[in-house]
């Protein structure tokens, strides 16, 4: 009310700014049905590019220690939560994720090294995830596709877990990927809430901290010790082997817009499959290929669970399972383009 009066009284630049602010506010309401608080001098934040926003969010996760409870829910009604401890010392990042719903399980990650403790079976699984270290390079490299396929727009401010956050909308520029609405803590840039959005901006999946302690006294050494405490547990080492799709005899007829191959793994029998991983910097797609077995592989189709889509298809003597946090049509393009190279 007061703002409207101010607008009427003043002329020129000031009212223009106020109007611009209102326009944005309307856009935010139209998209989400939620009114975001609008910070007075918010205009300058809107100029951050998608790469700048992402770099900021990524740096926060590399430089800040925190402890919090993360709640993940999907549009299907599934809800689950986990307690997260995150510590970093410049050299390494350590994370402990303790599931609070479902089967008890605690996962430790030191950079790309992962140990999962399954207390019910007294088993500790160890593995490496090279993909995890890729992101900074993806952003800095000149051939990065993120700004080419996503645009960033600041929607306003909101409060999550007691922290004031910038709300940023990452809009996909084509139909091959989902959009994201991201709540980035104002001072640090840490992502405190994330929504994956369909093309009509409906929420497919969201994760948010319900409670968060930023700069909590989490120590790298302490988490390291816990991660190494596998005594009394049966240690199972993941037997995935790095491979190349070309050597396995597979190629893409044409690249899928924005998606670059990032890794390829092979699992020995009994699974006996190849996992070829693609990423556009934000979303990932895995193509699993294994020998076709009529008894096991019956259901061709497309399945959805939250933001994760799955496509299954027979390709002559092979069975393809494509999985990714992308729209179904993207998986279809992958399936159409995948072919034997020998």
């Amino acid at each position: 009310m007061h703002q409207t009066q101010t607008q009427h009284r003043s002329v020129g630049r000031r009212s223009m700014v106020a109007l611009a602010g209102l326009g944005l506010l309307e856009a935010a309401v139209a998209q989400t049905g939620v009114v975001y608080l609008h910070a007075g001098g918010g205009a300058k934040h809107e100029e951050r590019s998608v790469a700048e926003w992402l770099e900021r969010m990524h740096e926060a996760s590399r430089r800040r220690n925190y402890v919090g409870t993360l709640v993940v829910s999907s549009n299907t009604g599934a809800m689950s939560s986990a307690r997260i401890w995150h510590a970093c010392d410049g050299q390494q990042q350590l994370e402990r994720v303790e599931s609070l719903t479902g089967a008890p399980r605690s996962t430790f990650r030191r950079n790309d090294e992962v140990v999962t403790f399954l207390p019910e079976a007294r088993v500790a699984r160890t593995e490496r995830r090279e993909v995890l270290g890729l992101f900074p390079d993806l952003l800095k490299s000149s051939e990065t596709s993120i700004p080419e396929f996503y645009a960033a727009r600041r929607l306003g401010s909101d409060r999550v877990a007691g922290f004031v956050a910038d709300v940023v909308h990452l809009l996909p520029k084509d139909q091959m990927r989902y959009g994201y609405r991201i709540w980035s803590e104002k001072k640090s840039g840490l992502v405190v809430k994330l929504q994956t959005l369909d093309h009509d901006h409906s929420v497919l999946e969201q994760s948010a901290f319900s409670e968060l302690q930023l700069d909590a006294p989490v120590r790298v050494e302490k988490l390291s010790q816990m991660m190494a405490a596998t005594g009394g547990w049966r240690v199972e080492k993941a037997d995935t082997v790095k491979c190349s799709a070309a050597a396995e005899g597979w190629q893409l007829r044409a690249p899928v817009a924005g998606f670059r191959p990032v890794n390829c793994y092979r699992r020995p029998a009994p699974e006996g499959n190849m996992q070829w991983i693609f990423s556009d910097g934000l979303a990932a797609v895995s193509l699993f290929v294994e020998a076709y077995e009529p008894r096991r592989h019956q259901q061709e189709g497309l399945l959805a669970s939250g933001a994760t889509q799955t496509l299954t298809r027979r390709m002559q003597d092979w069975w393809l399972t494509a999985v990714g946090e992308v729209p179904p049509q993207t998986l279809k393009v992958f399936a159409q383009n995948l072919e034997r190279s020998r």
Binding site: A121, R129, S207, L303, T321
Partner: protein, 193 residues
């Protein structure tokens, strides 16, 4: 009289003051005589209580406590077994260990139950939107623990779930949040049990 000597000997043994023959005699006594064994346990209990401030809080002075304890000890029938309580508490641990062999089954069951939950929320392309597999399943909120019988109806296979998990582990790490794949796995994957 003999009782007192036994207790003194055991007390000294518990305190680690015995050497040579005396030590051998103490150990033999503690091993053979039920009263001596009781005393042995009692002295350790006393030691525990004295060492732990928390346990001592609110109780009477150590001497009063000791007197009461000794009185109770003397009133007690010699040879009355004290161990069973401890053994009973330890028993479930042994059962757990005996279960080790069924680990594989547990993993399979874990995947299977996840599949059952997920089947509720998955729909086949081309078909009616969100056609429920069965009314009971449709009503069950996702994340609910389903009984083994309900696992029979599902579209998804354990193999498919393994692939989903593999995608989240190796490929599902989005640039937005390094741990997104981790958390999804830690939460959704385990939600069946």
């Amino acid at each position: 009289m003999e009782q007192m000597q036994t207790q003194e000997l055991i007390s000294a043994l518990a305190d680690g003051q015995l050497r040579g023959d005396a030590f051998a005699r103490g150990v033999e006594l503690a091993a053979s005589d039920p009263a001596a064994r009781d005393a042995w346990q009692t002295y350790h209990l006393i030691g525990d209580v004295l060492r732990s401030g928390e346990l001592a809080v609110g109780s009477s002075a150590p001497t009063v406590f000791l007197q009461r304890l000794q009185r109770r000890l003397q009133e007690e029938q010699p040879g009355m077994p004290r161990a069973p309580a401890v053994e009973a508490a330890a028993a479930p641990v042994h059962e757990e260990a005996a279960n080790d062999g069924s680990f594989r089954w547990k993993v399979v069951a874990g995947f299977a139950s996840v599949a059952a939950v997920a089947a509720v929320v998955w729909s086949l392309v081309g078909g009616a939107p969100d056609k429920p597999v069965s009314p009971e399943l449709a009503k069950a909120p996702a994340g609910t623990v389903l009984s083994p019988g309900e696992r029979g109806v599902m579209i998804r296979s354990p193999q498919l779930d393994e692939l989903l998990a593999a995608h989240r582990q190796l490929g599902g790490a989005s640039a937005l949040q390094m741990s997104s794949g981790l958390v999804r796995n830690a939460t959704f994957e385990g939600s069946g049990r």
